[in-house]
């Protein structure tokens, strides 16, 4: 049976349509996905992201363990900093994409719901002989995201710390109604905002307070269209065990010079391998949306496949991300996408599709 976050009953009693996602029953939408999408681009949306895996690392070898399994460099992080990175297998394929949080004496990590068991086991395997205590805190905590141009204003004085003062990709311990929580200026929508980790018991009161403050609940459907516009990869789609971070366009999250880590040897070889397909953006010129699995062709020859596709609510046209063979990845390359047996013209386009206005 699928797991449920502390907010599950609230979702169901407020019209949330739930689907199984990564082993959890999660709301995909409350009403219109397009309206929920626009709320995040124009005001503030609220997401239950309690399904994301939350792990903590304590002990003298915590940093050594992280450096061993994580492609980015944890050592150069400042206290309170949050850093994106990958966990790779020995062949350089992506096991997961994660956020690492640095605290004065400990570390935290947020992993994908669908990969939580796999990563917990992987970490245990690589922690052998190290003085580190890894705890999976997913079911004892909740995680809620507030995202959008009005998110920061709406969260003012929500906790005893001023989230406004957090730089992007920094987090801080705080208190919500007297209890410990974490406030993090991160997100998965392409907008400004915060993610809050609190105790599972406080989930519902925190959620309801954020609604009273004006945040509108949004489901995973809008989360998907938002992240797709912002060209953020989704595990299982743009990221798999067969693809490496360079192919995915995530070379910035791989620090080859930080020392040894799992997958490094293979990644050294793969980094400059010009034969490997690469992630690109596609703009479909017709009206029919390309979906995951659609074949991309140039001059009638298959040269790639779509990993995610939708019609973007902001731009109101079909967009997709795809892996394309070398020679067909340049922006402006014209191609065709086989959308259920009929060819739709498309064009390789720079990522992201959407970037939030500065200010």
């Amino acid at each position: 049976m699928a797991l449920r976050t502390p907010l599950y009953d609230w979702h169901v009693s407020h019209g949330g349509r739930t689907v199984e996602f990564g082993g959890w029953d999660m709301p995909v939408q409350y009403g219109s996905i397009v309206e929920e999408h626009h709320v995040v681009r124009k005001a503030a949306g609220l997401f239950d992201i309690g399904h994301m895996g939350r792990l903590s690392f304590a002990g003298p070898d915590a940093l050594a363990l992280l450096q061993r399994i994580y492609t980015n460099n944890a050592e150069t992080m400042k206290n309170g900093q949050v850093r994106y990175g990958l966990i790779c297998n020995e062949l350089g394929g992506i096991r997961d994409d994660v956020l690492v949080y640095r605290w004065p004496d400990t570390w935290s990590m947020v992993v994908n719901a669908s990969n939580r068991d796999k990563i917990v086991n992987w970490i245990a395997q690589h922690a052998k002989g190290l003085a580190v205590n890894v705890k999976d805190e997913t079911t004892t905590t909740c995680m809620i995201a507030v995202q959008g141009p009005q998110a920061m204003a709406l969260c003012r004085a929500l906790t005893d710390t001023d989230a406004d003062r957090l730089a992007y990709y920094f987090a801080t311990p705080a208190h919500y109604r007297g209890q410990n929580c974490i406030v993090s200026r991160t997100g998965y929508t392409g907008e400004d905002g915060i993610e809050i980790i609190a105790s599972a018991e406080q989930g519902l009161e925190l959620w309801e307070e954020l609604i009273r403050r004006g945040a509108k609940p949004c489901g995973l459907g809008a989360r998907d269209t938002l992240r797709l516009e912002a060209a953020m990869p989704l595990y299982g789609h743009e990221l798999t065990e067969d693809l490496d971070p360079f192919q995915a366009g995530l070379s910035w999250a791989v620090k080859m010079d930080k020392g040894e880590f799992v997958g490094r040897e293979a990644l050294l070889r793969r980094r400059d391998d010009a034969r490997l397909p690469r992630r690109v953006g596609l703009e479909i010129l017709g009206r029919r949306a390309a979906r995951e699995g659609s074949t991309v062709l140039v001059a009638g020859r298959p040269v790639g496949h779509v990993t995610s596709g939708t019609v973007t609510p902001t731009l109101n046209k079909p967009i997709a991300m795809a892996y394309m063979e070398p020679g067909h990845t340049a922006s402006g390359t014209l191609c065709a996408v086989d959308v259920r047996g009929r060819m739709e013209e498309a064009r390789v386009t720079p990522l992201p599709f959407y970037r939030r206005p500065k200010g």
């Binding site: 219109s32 996905i33 397009v34 269209t225 029919r288 949306a289 979906r291 939708t310 019609v311 609510p313």
Partner: protein
Amino acid sequence: MDPKTLRYAKSHEWAHLEGDICTVGLTKFAVDQLTDIIFIDLPNLEDLVAEGEGFGEIESVKAVSDLYSPITGDVVAINEKLETDPAIISGDPYDKGWLIKVKVEPGTTLDHLMTLEQYEKQIASEEH
């Protein structure tokens, strides 16, 4: 149109027969399930459609679904307005949101399709 006078296919299309012209649409239940309809792909005039076979596609932000014809015949009209404004079907699935009109053979009936009561039973079971 009055939903009580329509007949229904398992795949959520409705049909209304007047003389030898059958109007085909999609039920409110199906439209509400899809939400965020962004594109409707309809057949060409004079295309032959066959009972139980696909005649078009309806695409929402989430996914695309096939449209199945509840009846066999030639397409004599398509609702062209849906091609530029697919939201019409969400607002008014039984009148302004009709999909196609099909000319059927003389003697054709809708007896193979469900009544409203039977259809409501089906969707009640789908909701659980």
